[in-house]
Symmetry: C2
Subunit: 214 residues, 2 copies
């Protein structure tokens, strides 16, 4: 069955999925990149960026798994770019240069309309201005039986989570303390939302935990 899932989402030991003060220089917030150290080392990540080498092993297996059976993505506006408010023009095309790593339709939550943006490698960004429920409906249709992956950021995940739409979450706990930023857990009662950990596996650089909704 088609699932709505979060995969390979990195968090700190103190629960932050991004650092504070996101901007053009710090797309993931200050120190946010440290959360993803495990992923940056993998062969999967390097292959996405047309680089050879990279680690094999548990972390790489989880990275590979995160891209399997994904028919569409949903991203919050900040995952797409640093621009806040109305689009000044159509020049910003995402953080990923010409060929984003999605290769499927990507639905970007935004308050501001913009025409669909087709990119190299079969990724098209669609800007959804009528809310997360509409984005999910469109993503499910586009996924055509495959899974919808909620890419983030934290507030987008929290929104779909508390609305009861997410079936499965794979978190990668990095051995990092941030102290501030965007917290995934604060005020969210995962057990009451029906989630419990069904797997915990030590990778080389992160601990991978799978949460499933009963």
């Amino acid at each position: 069955m088609s699932k709505v899932k979060v995969s390979a989402f990195s968090v700190s030991l103190d629960g932050f999925g991004a650092g504070p003060r996101q901007d053009l220089e710090n797309p993931l917030g200050v120190r946010g990149l440290e959360l993803h150290a495990w992923f940056l080392k993998t062969a999967v990540f390097r292959k996405i960026h047309h680089l050879a080498g990279g680690s094999q092993g548990v972390d790489n297996d989880f990275a590979a798994r995160s891209f399997e059976n994904v028919g569409a993505w949903i991203l919050g506006r900040n995952m797409f770019g640093p621009i806040r408010g109305p689009w000044p023009d159509d020049s910003w095309k995402g953080w990923w240069a010409d060929e984003p790593p999605y290769h499927v339709p990507v639905f970007v939550l935004s308050h501001y309309e913009r025409p669909p943006l087709p990119m190299k490698g079969n990724t098209t960004f669609y800007f959804v201005t009528d809310g997360p429920e509409s984005a999910l409906k469109q993503a499910k249709e586009a996924a055509n039986g495959q899974d919808v992956r909620i890419g983030g950021g934290v507030s987008t995940i929290r929104q779909y989570l508390t609305a009861g739409h997410i079936h499965e979450i794979h978190l990668a706990f990095s051995p990092v303390l941030l102290g501030e930023g965007e917290n995934l857990f604060a005020g969210i009662h995962f057990p009451k939302l029906g989630f419990k950990p069904v797997q915990s596996t030590a990778g080389e650089e992160a601990t991978h935990v799978i949460l499933k909704r009963a």
Copy 2:
């Protein structure tokens, strides 16, 4: 050098060191015991309770390490018992029956005086009513060059942590989500307090992380 440390302190993935609604039936709060599943299985735990068997391995090694070079303990009042307010009498002697697992002086923070309570196996509970700084001073003297271990609970650890007294913390992350209870991380900025993770090791049932202050 003598250290002030927290050892083998179990937390959930969402940062809780105890469940909600602590009472006589749930000394660790509702579902709090699940956090300690890794510890309860170890040979170290079983030996404390004069039971044979139990697991060897990484979790057991960290359990053993947590009792090494401890010259005195500090406990919050709730770690000692479920009684709130003044002591009705001296009949409550802790959660541990005749022979508590400490075998050294234990300083219990309380607002209510009570004479020292010597127990079998060399544990004596001292009730300190003039604040955590005084308890720490007394514990350091009693430890006589060995380390002082802050046993908990969460609020006691947070108090010593934010006052800058703790040098090292060993957390055991259990693959459990509690959703509510006493949160170790909420509002505490570990990096600003000088802490960073220096080790992360997968045990059989928990991930062991060592935080040290620079």
